[in-house]
C-alpha cells in the first residue's frame, strides 16, 4: 500500500505517530486513521483502509467507530450500502454515543434496515437530544409537530426545538424561528434565523442537497431574506410565493414527502409515510414517479406529469410553466439530479417542490423535504437549470434526461 503524504496538511511526524499508535491498538488513533483515509486528510484517500481502521477500532470496543462503520453502510459511500448492517452497528453503539443514537432513530423513522417504528425513533432521538445532539432534538421536534406516526404534540415539539436551539444547532434555530414566525413574533423569528445564519459561513444562496449544519445556516439566511416576501401579495411576473405545508422527510422518502406536501396543499391530510404506503415499493426505498402519480389518483387528486427538454430551450419553457403555475397560486413538484463523487454511484436524485420566484433577483423558492421546516430555500435560476434534470425518476423516464414536473391537472 502506498502512502502519499500531502504537505501542509498534517506533519509527517504527526502522521507517523498516529499510525504507530493505531497499530499499537489505540482505538482513538485507529478511528482517526479511518477518518483520514475516508476524507483524504494528510493521506491519500482510501476507502478500504478507512474501513479497515474503523473496524479495528470497533473491534476494540469503540462505539464511535461502530457508528462510523454503521454510517458507511447506511450511506454506501465506503462500502456497498447495506442498511441491515448499518442498523446493527447503530444499535450496538447507540447506548454510548449520541450520534449513533441519532442514526438509530433515523433507521427506525426511515425504515432503514428495520421495520419502521416512530415510537422507537423518538426514544432514541430524545435520548440523543438529552446528551446534547441538536439534530436529534430537531428531528424529534418535527415528528411531534407533524404527527407522523406519533400523536401530534406542539408543546413537546416546541421544547425539543428550544433544546436544539440551546445547543446552538442551526437547524434547531431554523425550526424555532419558524415557530416564532407562525406565532407572529417576527423579531424573535429574525433573531433565531440570524443566529443560525451566523453559526457557519453562508452565501447569497446555497445548494439544496443533503441536510447539514451548513445547509441549515444557509436556510436561516434564506428565511431572513424571505421574511418580507412571505408577507407580501404576489405580483405576477415579478414575484410569487405559494404558502404550502412542509413535511420533513425520513431517510430516502423525499418523493412521497414532497408529494404528500403537494397533496396537503390541495386539501388532503395525508402524511409523508402515508403517501409512501400508497406506493408498492417498501418503506425506506426510493419511489418511482409513476407510483407517486398513481397514488395521487388513489386519494382522489388529479396530477399531471409534464417534461421539458434538458437544454436551454427546455429550461425557458419549464420556467415559463413554473411562473404560470406559481402566479396562479399552485406549487409544482420537480425532480433534481445531483452529480458528484460524494454521491454513491456518482449521482443522486431528489424530489422537492417549487413554491415561488423572485424575478428581480433571478431566484426561485423551494419547499424542500430534506431540510427542516418550513423547508424554504432559495435557489438561483442557474442552479435550478443545472439541478432540475432527471433520467431516473422511474419507469416513465425511460432513461431519457428531461426536466420532469408534477402539476395540478386543471382539466
Amino acid at each position: 500500500m502506498s502512502v502519499l503524504l500531502v504537505p501542509n496538511l498534517t506533519g509527517a511526524a504527526e502522521l507517523d505517530d498516529l499510525r504507530a499508535r493505531a497499530e499499537k491498538g489505540d482505538p482513538k488513533a485507529q478511528l482517526d486513521q479511518a477518518y483520514r483515509y475516508r476524507d483524504g486528510r494528510g493521506i491519500e484517500k482510501n476507502d478500504i483502509e478507512a474501513m479497515k481502521w474503523a473496524h479495528r477500532a470497533a473491534d476494540g470496543g469503540s462505539a464511535e467507530a461502530m457508528d462510523f462503520v454503521g454510517f458507511a453502510y447506511l450511506r454506501g459511500n465506503l462500502v456497498e450500502r447495506n442498511t441491515e448492517i448499518a442498523f446493527g452497528y447503530f444499535k450496538a453503539a447507540a447506548p454510548k454515543v449520541p450520534q449513533a443514537a441519532f442514526n438509530l432513530g433515523q433507521c427506525y423513522f426511515g425504515a432503514q434496515g428495520t421495520e419502521q417504528n416512530v415510537t422507537k425513533a423518538l426514544v432514541w432521538w430524545e435520548k440523543a437530544a438529552a446528551q446534547g445532539h441538536g439534530r436529534a432534538a430537531v428531528s424529534a421536534a418535527l415528528a411531534y409537530l407533524s404527527g407522523e406516526g406519533v400523536k401530534r404534540d406542539e408543546m413537546r415539539a416546541r421544547k425539543l426545538a428550544e433544546r436544539a436551539a440551546e445547543l446552538n444547532n442551526p437547524s434547531g434555530l431554523v425550526v424555532l424561528g419558524e415557530m416564532h414566525f407562525q406565532a407572529g413574533n417576527l423579531e424573535l423569528a429574525k433573531e433565531s434565523w440570524r443566529k443560525a445564519s451566523k453559526l457557519l459561513p453562508t452565501g447569497s444562496t446555497g445548494h439544496p442537497a443533503q441536510p447539514s449544519d451548513n445547509a441549515s445556516a444557509q436556510q436561516g439566511a434564506d428565511l431572513l431574506k424571505l421574511i418580507e416576501y412571505r408577507q407580501r401579495e404576489c405580483e405576477p411576473g415579478k414575484f410569487a410565493f405559494v404558502q404550502m405545508p412542509h413535511i420533513y422527510q425520513g431517510y430516502n422518502n423525499c418523493g412521497a414527502s414532497a408529494c404528500a406536501a403537494f397533496a396537503r396543499f390541495q386539501g388532503s391530510d395525508i402524511s409523508g409515510w402515508g403517501f409512501k404506503k400508497l406506493c408498492p415499493s417498501p418503506l425506506g426505498t426510493g419511489t418511482d414517479w409513476g407510483h407517486l402519480l398513481d397514488a395521487s389518483g388513489k386519494i382522489g387528486q388529479k396530477w399531471k406529469l409534464i417534461t421539458f427538454t434538458p437544454d436551454d430551450v427546455g429550461f425557458e419553457e419549464a420556467t415559463a410553466m413554473l411562473r404560470r403555475e406559481l402566479d396562479a397560486g399552485r406549487p409544482v413538484v420537480v425532480d433534481f439530479k445531483y452529480i458528484g463523487p460524494q454521491y454513491p454511484g456518482g449521482s443522486a436524485g431528489h424530489t422537492l417542490n417549487v413554491c415561488g420566484y423572485i424575478t428581480a433577483e433571478n431566484l426561485y423558492i423551494l419547499c424542500n423535504p430534506a431540510v427542516v421546516s418550513p423547508g424554504l430555500q432559495l435557489i438561483t435560476a442557474d442552479d435550478l437549470k443545472n439541478f432540475w434534470r432527471s433520467d431516473h425518476y422511474g419507469a416513465l423516464s425511460k432513461g431519457v434526461l428531461s426536466r420532469p414536473a408534477f402539476i395540478i391537472d386543471k382539466q
Binding site: 474501513m51 456497498e80 441491515e84 450496538a92
Partner: protein
C-alpha cells in the same frame, strides 16, 4: 525504516525475484496430512513428540501462528492449494474422494500453481498423495467415478488416467490417487498410469493392529506397494527428482510438491521409526514425518540448492479425531492444542495449521508472524515471487504474502478469511480481524454426541442460534458464542460471506475493489 522495505516489495511485485545468480528461487512445498497445530514442537511446547527438523525449519525461517487450511478435509484443501480458489465455489467442492473418485475438481483450463510456475520456467513435480480427483476408465472406455472397491475392479490399467497432476501443470508425478493407506486402490501412479496394477486383496491381517490403524479399508494392492513404508518411497522419489533436476537442468528453478501420507491414519510408521517416541504409533508416525522433512532439507543442502530454495511446510487440515482423542488419553499429547475441534470441524482445531516458511536471505530467521493467512495464498505469493501475473479468472481467493514474508510487520491485504468445514458450501465460516463468524450451528463436521467426542462437547449457550460468533482474541478456544451480544458483527460478516459467495471471489479483480 519501512520505506526501503516497501520500495523493495513494490519492485519485486513488478519484476518478481531473481537471485544474484539470476535464477528464480526453487520452491518446495511439503504438505503433511492431518498434522495438527499441537503435533509440532515449535507450535506446542507440551507436545510429546520430538520434531527437531520442523523446529529447525522454524528457527531458520518464519513461523505463522494464524495460518489456515482452506478446508477441514483433504480434497477441498488440496484443490484450494493448487488453484488459490476456495473449493466450495466449484461443483462438488465439498467432496472427499475415495478409491478412484473423480473427476478432477480442477476445471480444464483453470490456471494452477504448478501451471503458473511452469509458465515461469520451472520444472514441476508432485510426489505423494494427490486426492483432487482423476478419471479412470474401464475396458469399454467408460469413465469410472464411484469411490468403491467394485469400481477399482473395473479399471483398465492399459489406459491413461486423465485429469491428474500432469493435466494440471506438473511435469512429473509419482504418488497415489487418494489417501495412500486408506481406501481400495493401493497402487502407485507414475505420471498418468499405474505401471504395477493392484491384483490381490490387501492382507490387513499382516498389518499392525493398534488404535491408530483403523482407517485402512479392504481393497486391491499392488505388489510394489509397501503399506508401512509409503512415505519412505515418496521421500526416495522426491530425492530422485531433486537430484535429477540439479544434474540435468540446474539453470532452471524447480517446484516440488511433496504431499506425504503421514500423518493420516492408519499410522503405520516405517520399521526404523517404530518405538522411537513415547507417544505410541501415531507419535512414531509424526516423528517419521519430521525425519522425512529433515531428509528433504538435507537433500537440498547436499545438492547445494538450499540457499536458493523457498521451503513451505504446512498441513491440509487439523488432526484426526482418533489420534487426538486417544493420544490425549494415553500420552497426554494433544494434536489439536490449544484449539477447540479437530479435523472436519469448523472450530480452529479443524483448520488452524502449522505453516512455516524458510527462504534464506529473504525471510528473516527465527521470526513469528501473526497475520491471518491461508494455504490458498501460496499461489499469489508464488506469482509475486516469480513475476507471474494472475488473470482475473484465477486464484480467486489468493493473497500475496510476499510483503509479510519480507517484513513480518507488513500486512497481508486480505479483507477476510474463508474456511469450509466438512459439508462444503453448507458449512462456511468467515474471519475478519479478531471476529470469526461460523454460518452454521455446531461443529460443521464431527458429531459431538458420540461417546468418543461427548467429553469435548461444549454447551451452546445461545439457544436456537443459527450461527456462531467468536472473539478470537479474548476467546481463542471458541467457548463463548457472542452472536447475541454482537449481532451487528455477526450480520456484517454473514453479509460479507454472502457477498463473497455471490461475487465468486475474495481477491479483488484488477483495477477494482470488491468492497464497493
Amino acid at each position: 525504516m519501512k520505506r526501503p522495505v516497501l520500495m523493495a516489495v513494490l519492485l519485486m511485485l513488478l519484476c518478481g525475484i531473481a537471485t544474484a545468480a539470476g535464477q528464480k528461487p526453487n520452491i518446495l512445498v511439503i504438505l503433511a496430512d492431518d498434522l495438527g497445530y499441537g503435533d509440532v514442537g515449535c507450535y506446542n511446547a507440551k507436545s510429546k513428540v520430538a520434531t527437531p527438523n520442523i523446529d529447525r525449519l522454524a528457527r531458520e525461517g518464519m513461523l505463522f501462528t494464524d495460518a489456515h487450511s482452506p478446508a477441514t478435509v483433504c480434497t477441498p484443501s488440496r484443490y484450494s492449494l493448487m488453484t488459490g480458489q476456495m473449493a466450495f465455489r466449484v461443483p462438488r467442492g465439498g467432496t472427499v474422494f475415495t478409491g478412484v473418485g473423480g473427476p478432477s475438481l480442477i476445471a480444464p483450463g483453470r490456471l494452477t500453481l504448478p501451471a503458473m510456475l511452469r509458465q515461469q520456467g520451472y520444472e514441476t513435480a508432485a510426489v505423494g498423495k494427490w486426492h483432487i480427483g482423476w478419471t479412470f476408465r474401464d475396458q469399454a472406455g467408460e469413465p469410472i467415478h464411484q469411490g468403491t472397491l467394485e469400481a477399482v475392479r473395473r479399471i483398465d490399467y492399459s489406459r491413461r488416467i486423465e485429469g491428474g497432476p500432469l493435466d494440471h501443470g506438473f511435469d512429473r508425478f509419482f504418488g497415489t490417487a487418494c489417501c495412500p493407506g486408506t481406501d481400495w486402490l493401493y497402487a502407485f501412479i507414475e505420471g498418468d498410469r499405474i505401471p504395477v496394477p493392484p491384483v490381490a486383496p490387501i492382507d490387513r491381517g499382516s498389518l499392525p493392529k493398534h488404535p491408530y490403524a483403523n482407517d485402512c479399508r479392504e481393497g486391491l494392492i499392488a505388489t510394489n506397494f509397501p503399506m508401512e513404508e509409503l512415505d519412505m518411497v515418496f521421500l526416495q522419489k522426491s530425492r530422485e527428482f531433486l537430484e535429477a533436476h540439479v544434474r540435468q537442468s540446474p539453470e532452471n528453478p524447480f517446484f516440488l510438491y511433496h504431499a506425504s501420507h503421514a500423518v493420516h491414519l492408519p499410522s503405520f510408521a516405517a520399521p526404523q521409526f517404530k518405538g522411537k517416541t513415547q507417544a505410541g504409533p501415531h507419535g512414531d508416525f509424526i516423528f517419521e514425518f519430521d525425519q522425512i522433512v529433515g531428509e528433504l532439507l538435507s537433500t537440498l543442502e547436499k545438492l547445494g540448492v538450499a540457499d536458493n530454495t523457498l521451503v513451505i511446510l504446512t498441513s491440509d487440515n487439523g488432526p484426526e479425531v482418533t489420534s487426538v482423542v486417544r493420544m490425549r488419553a494415553d500420552y497426554d499429547h494433544d494434536g489439536a492444542r490449544p484449539w477447540r475441534g479437530m479435523k472436519r470441524d469448523q472450530w480452529e482445531g479443524g483448520h488452524r495449521v502449522p505453516f512455516i516458511v524458510r527462504w534464506p536471505g529473504w525471510v528473516k530467521t527465527g521470526t513469528t508472524n501473526a497475520q491471518i493467512i491461508s494455504l490458498t495464498d501460496i499461489m499469489a505469493t508464488a506469482a509475486a515471487i516469480t513475476g507471474a501475473s494472475l488473470p482475473d479468472d484465477s486464484a480467486d481467493d489468493s493473497f500475496n504474502l510476499l510483503p509479510t514474508l519480507l517484513d513480518s510487520g507488513a500486512e497481508v491485504a486480505r479483507p477476510y478469511l474463508l474456511t469450509q468445514a466438512f459439508a462444503g458450501a453448507r458449512t462456511l465460516a468467515i474471519r475478519r480481524g479478531k471476529w470469526k463468524y461460523i454460518d452454521h450451528p455446531g461443529s460443521g463436521g464431527n458429531n459431538y454426541a458420540t461417546k468418543e467426542l461427548k467429553p469435548y462437547a461444549l454447551p451452546e449457550l445461545v439457544k436456537d442460534a443459527t450461527g456462531q460468533l467468536y472473539d478470537m482474541e479474548s476467546d481463542p478456544a471458541e467457548k463463548s458464542n457472542l452472536i447475541s451480544e454482537h449481532p451487528e458483527v455477526a450480520w456484517e460478516l454473514k453479509e460479507l460471506l454472502n457477498q463473497s459467495k455471490s461475487s465468486g471471489r475474495s481477491r479483488p479483480v484488477k483495477g477494482g475493489s470488491n468492497s464497493k
